[in-house]
């Protein structure tokens, strides 16, 4: 039998490896890693190798479906309709919303690697109510790092394990991110590196760590503050790095906590002023920062000539962390003080004594020429374990500060950015700043998601109340840079801040594992007002599979699989760039669509054309693009900008990269090149990019960035201080509503601090003594395939993992049924003893448990009868009515819930749910 091999990009998880699909007689025979692909270099993971079972899954949706007249939402009773009718329904509904009040249309997507198109569609439609899943995933990781060092982990940057000697991984669940990190950890270990994992649970990557440091969930901030304290107290920080490349030497005014400026000097850029002051320790006077020959004092208190009292930001940081001794942190984290001190010494001494020098000359933004690139080989990685707490923003900021004190930012052996990162702090993308940004029949006047730098950037009305349905960028969650998808259904149901008409969900299981308070949210989705109408009048869901969420839809749009469509991993969103340069990639169809499946991208192009959204039609309102591939090739961010979704093979003949005219043969060029485009930067542009003049100039020419000012690390966050001043009534501009003033003043601290999570603060810790957390297993991480016939044989149901001491003290036997109860609800599940979990913590695999009948599994499948969701124990709302979210970023506090456990007399999972009907195929 002859085999045809086609290359494309995997989508079994979010990692986006290159794959080869081996086809025989039009059917998938085998999928393996593409050896020519720079990301995965030929390897593949359990998910990727199981792609064939996704393609042929019985849970595939194959026809557009409309909820049967009279059927309740959630019952899953549908009738098939044609695409024409589906589009007619949507067009009618959406055009009327757009003409009257565009914000009544909300578009939320589970995946955040398609935002270039979904975000464009929402903006063109004119609704502010758009976001991807970042708000309930890891926005704290993005925001905490980006507001501090201008970049973050995963798609934005990562640990340089090729050259690191010490690697510390904190709060990283099983497999984030998949193959590239697995490849790197293995090489790191084999080359003799030391790997330390800080995590309440020892699974996944942590299993092969040289040392496991168990920690109580949500207390990493305390550990990190103690580490920072010890690093400063011992003088183990990289002073040269701190002085030149962070704002540690900048003088902070004692009266208002803002940086002192040299008013006579040119700020260069009003948005990112460059006229702060240092106290030069040589001349003992204030000078403009980065004055040649000057060196800032990092400690002390000084008076400017006008009498203003100032202190260097580093002095403030040192004062802040001084009480946070290892003994203090031991009481909070459960990690022995001696271990904390040793960790600090290992980091500090390795950074100081194992320096790397690369013979690469470069010039910094202030014109100083450096004969070489140096690095301190201590690398970190962290993800949701730090992020998914309501204290996560400050925890992540503390981590970024620790990394900076060790002198490891964009240097060999430390943390390295991936283009288009680093970004300015904050990035210059902004939302509209008031309700006037939303106008009938017009695109949104700004982006739906942005990066506020001051209260003036918030998206609020004159009373300071939110414009977005999720209350993003309001005083409740001012820096909610990824939105708050987890608030949408509850807020829309409450009509707070206003009711909406149509909720469109793409690839997110908001009626099940991707929602807090699952039972109530399902009720809200099906709830009607006094007028007998649904409180959320219309719900459209696009997905490839029949899920608990599609059951609640009024209209179901059958998406294709990744093997059946075109797709782009764009520089305008989150590309697959590597440390050494930008890289983007595509998917090309290797199979025809199944049944009547249509890629969501085509749905958006079709809708955009029918609704005559400006980006999708010509001057006469006629459809501009034949289809999605045509759109990708010809769309430019502005006419003639030369910037499109894909950076490779631009220009009429494909000879240009990054910028250039559209190339009609662009898809072919990608297909001929393993579906990936890679632009390698010259060595002198690969490091120190926050402050690298050559890189900045190149990035400006390539239009990766508008501004070229250096990006100093914000040890001290003036951005946060601006919000705090507003809350204290000391800011000349906007102020928060009175009820939120204390909250903003408390949490917008310009220096990092630790506080117990908001949920812990509102919980009786005596009654609920245990922390409960979840993670996705490696074989299903970031995957839509826990129903996959092969993968479900690895995890068909889940247990509550519990330390034997904790369990036996409560009379719970290994394998027995038990109740897990929080102040919000309880679930019945099975216990599994584990020595690999901190005894004050219980945990389980997330998203294994399913509603009976969902995902085309038999009603008696393990997932429904033995599998459970911890989500039932987690509230979306805290006492007082605010969301269970970080008060700075709106990050969902998934891992903050406190529980107690006790034996169950009955068996079987609880709560129970009715059996979902199978949809027409």
């Amino acid at each position: 039998m002859s085999t045809e091999i086609k290359t494309t990009t995997c989508y079994m998880c979010a990692c986006r490896c290159g794959i080869r699909v081996h086809l025989q007689e039009g059917k998938v025979r085998y999928i393996d890693g593409n050896p020519e692909h720079p990301l995965n270099k030929g390897v593949i993971c359990a998910k990727g190798a199981s792609g064939i079972m996704k393609q042929y899954s019985p849970a595939r949706l194959t026809r557009p479906l409309k909820r049967k007249a009279g059927a309740e939402r959630g019952a899953g009773e549908f009738e098939p309709i044609s695409w024409d009718e589906a589009f007619r329904i949507l067009e009618e509904r959406l055009s009327s919303i757009r003409k009257t009040d565009p914000k009544k249309f909300a578009l939320f997507t589970g995946r955040d690697q398609m935002q270039a198109l979904t975000g464009l569609f929402a903006r063109q439609f004119g609704t502010p109510n758009y976001a991807a899943h970042g708000g309930f995933c890891s926005v704290n990781m993005a925001a905490g790092m980006i507001y501090t060092v201008g970049g973050s982990f995963w798609e934005f940057g990562g640990p340089d394990l090729e050259r690191a000697k010490l690697f510390i991984m904190l709060g990283t669940a099983e497999d984030h991110h998949s193959n590239p990190l697995k490849i790197a950890i293995s090489q790191f270990k084999r080359s003799g590196g030391r790997f330390i994992s800080v995590n309440p649970v020892r699974t996944g990557y942590s299993a092969i760590a040289d040392e496991w440091v168990p920690i109580r969930p949500g207390t990493d901030g305390a550990l990190l503050l103690a580490l920072v304290n010890e690093i400063i107290a011992q003088g183990l920080y990289d002073r040269e790095f701190v002085a030149r490349y962070t704002n540690g030497g900048q003088l902070v005014k004692r009266d208002n906590g803002l940086f002192a400026l040299d008013e006579g000097a040119d700020p260069v850029n009003e948005l990112y002023p460059q006229n702060q002051l240092w106290w030069d320790r040589h001349s003992n006077r204030a000078v403009l920062t980065h004055t040649p020959e000057a060196d800032p004092s990092l400690f002390g208190e000084f008076r400017l000539t006008d009498g203003t009292r100032v202190r260097p930001a580093f002095q403030l940081l040192a004062e802040r962390v001084r009480p946070h001794t290892a003994e203090w942190a031991e009481r909070i984290t459960g990690i022995p003080a001696a271990t904390i001190r040793r960790l600090a010494h290992e980091m500090g001494i390795t950074a100081r004594d194992e320096k790397i020098e690369l013979p690469i000359a470069w010039t910094d933004c202030w014109g100083r020429e450096h004969p070489s690139v140096t690095g301190n080989p201590v690398a970190f990685h962290a993800m949701r374990g730090l992020a998914a707490h309501s204290n996560g923003f400050h925890t992540v900021r503390t981590l970024a500060i620790l990394m900076s004190l060790l002198g490891t930012i964009d240097r060999p052996g430390g943390f390295r950015h991936k283009p288009p990162f680093p970004r300015a702090i904050p990035p210059s993308a902004k939302t509209p700043t008031g309700p006037e940004g939303v106008q009938p029949g017009e695109p949104l006047k700004g982006l739906a998601l942005g990066w506020p730098g001051s209260p003036e950037d918030l998206f609020v009305d004159a009373a300071g109340e939110p414009v977005r349905i999720d209350k993003g960028f309001s005083w409740e969650y001012p820096l909610s840079v990824h939105g708050l998808m987890h608030n949408v259904i509850t807020n829309a149901w409450r009509g707070d801040p206003y009711p909406i008409d149509t909720l469109m969900i793409f690839m997110a299981n908001m009626a099940w594992n991707s929602t807090m308070n699952t039972v109530e949210v399902r009720r809200m989705l099906n709830d009607r007002g006094a007028d007998g109408e649904y409180k959320i009048p219309f719900i459209a869901v696009c997905d490839a599979f029949q899920s608990e969420m599609t059951a609640f839809a009024d209209l179901v749009l059958p998406d294709t699989t990744y093997l059946e469509r075109h797709d782009v991993m764009s520089m305008l969103d989150r590309p697959i760039s590597e440390f050494d340069g930008p890289m983007d990639s595509v998917r090309v169809p290797v199979l025809p669509p199944t049944g009547e499946c249509k890629p969501f991208q085509e749905v958006l192009i079709e809708l955009g054309s029918r609704l005559r959204l400006p980006a999708f039609v010509d001057g006469e309102g006629r459809r501009k693009y034949k289809d999605y591939p045509d759109f990708i090739v010809r769309h430019e961010t502005e006419p003639g900008s030369g910037i499109g979704f894909l950076a490779g093979w631009r220009g009429a003949d494909g000879s240009k990269s990054m910028r250039g005219e559209p190339n009609p043969k662009q898809w072919e060029r990608y297909a001929q090149n393993n579906c990936v485009f890679r632009h390698e930067l010259p060595p002198s542009y690969r490091y120190m990019r926050n402050w690298n003049r050559g890189y900045m100039e190149w990035a400006q020419r390539a239009r990766l960035r508008r501004w070229g000012e250096p990006i100093l690390v914000h040890l001290y966050s003036e951005v946060l201080q601006r919000f705090r001043l507003a809350a204290q009534g000391k800011w000349p501009g906007r102020r928060p509503p009175e009820r939120l003033a204390k909250r903003v003043a408390t949490y917008f601290d310009p220096l990092p601090f630790y506080y117990p999570s908001l949920e812990a603060q509102a919980t009786d810790r005596e009654k609920y003594p245990l922390a409960a957390i979840t993670q996705r297993p490696m074989a299903m991480y970031h995957s839509w395939d826990s129903q996959n016939a092969w993968l479900r044989q690895i995890h068909a149901h889940n247990y509550l993992f519990i330390h034997p001491r904790t369990a036996s003290a409560r009379g719970i036997a290994d394998g027995a049924w038990l109740w897990v109860e929080s102040q919000w609800g309880r679930v019945r599940c099975m216990a599994r003893y584990s020595e690999a979990v901190e005894p004050g913590t219980v945990w389980t695999w997330n998203a294994i448990g399913k509603q009976p009948g969902a995902w085309a599994l038999a009603p008696e499948a393990n997932e429904a009868r033995k599998g459970f969701l911890l989500n039932h124990l987690i509230s979306d709302t805290l006492p007082g009515g605010t969301s269970n979210s970080d008060p700075i970023t709106g990050q969902a506090g998934w891992y903050d819930v406190r529980v107690r456990v006790y034996p169950a007399e009955e068996q079987g999972v609880w709560p129970e749910f009715p059996v979902l009907a199978k949809v027409p195929a």
């Binding site: 390897v43 593949i44 950890i185 003088g235 920080y237 390795t350 004594d353 490696m778 016939a789 009868r865």
Partner: protein, 243 residues
């Protein structure tokens, strides 16, 4: 005589199951397939896999090790599954030491599974014949594949390169070298089966910190006056004694 084998490095295996499903994918559609599944979408799903990862814990908190342990047929040099086979279906190849099952001869009696001390054989639930790892014998000699890909599917898939493949009778092979130099061991040698597959143990890297490494002449705190020398005017022995 050649003896092909896998050498599995437990020092880097993170238990991702890539070897499990890539093996299933290659073999279910290939010469050794199909590898059937029972109740693929129902209760207690189960199917035939040539390779599985077992995860277990060693030690007590907080000194717990979590071990991911991939296991497949070990291609023993003295395979106990071969002599017990009543039909000659189980056999060991002279040319490369791979232990195989001839499905046409297998009657599914299960003696071989009973004889195998490693639990490496699986009776296919639909076809009722014994199935097991073939070291991808249909890949490793396939001249149509590029040479670099003439390896078992699990070896090519493994993201941590935890699986080495080679001739353990050739002392210069990568597999032999790894066994020799990194403490490679065989499972349950007391059974006398001489498994060809070997495992490499966990290795720990530590950093030793000496107390004096915290003290440096160039401590940056000095630059900012945080480790001041006492002033010359402060009391000293010179004030009180003349010796």
């Amino acid at each position: 005589m050649k003896q092909l084998a896998l050498v599995i490095d437990l020092n880097v295996c993170v238990g991702c199951h890539a070897c499990v499903t890539s093996c299933k994918a290659w073999n279910t559609g290939g010469a050794a397939g199909p590898l059937s599944d029972q109740n693929a979408y129902g209760a207690e799903p189960t199917g035939t896999f040539f390779n599985r990862v077992q995860t277990f814990e060693v030690g007590e908190f907080p000194r717990t090790e979590t071990v991911h342990f991939p296991k497949s047929c070990l291609h023993c040099e003295e395979p106990p599954c071969v002599p017990v086979c009543p039909t000659g279906a189980s056999y060991k190849r002279a040319e490369d030491g791979i232990v195989l099952v001839d499905y046409d001869k297998c009657i599914g009696c299960g003696y071989c599974a009973w004889a195998c001390p490693y639990g490496a054989r699986e009776l296919d639930g639909s076809e009722k014949v014994m199935k097991k790892c073939t070291l991808c014998v249909d890949r490793i000699y396939d001249q149509k594949l590029p040479e670099a890909e003439r390896k078992p599917a699990c070896v090519l898939a493994c993201p941590t390169s935890a699986r080495l493949f080679g001739d353990i009778h050739d002392p210069e092979s990568e597999a032999s070298r790894a066994i020799r130099e990194q403490g490679g061991y065989a499972l349950m040698p007391e059974w006398g089966t001489q498994p060809a597959n070997h495992y490499l143990p966990r290795r720990k890297t530590a950093i030793t910190i000496h107390a004096d490494e915290l003290e440096r002449h160039a401590n940056p705190l000095k630059i900012d006056g945080q480790l001041p020398q006492p002033a010359t005017s402060e009391p000293a022995l010179d004030d009180v004694t003349s010796w």
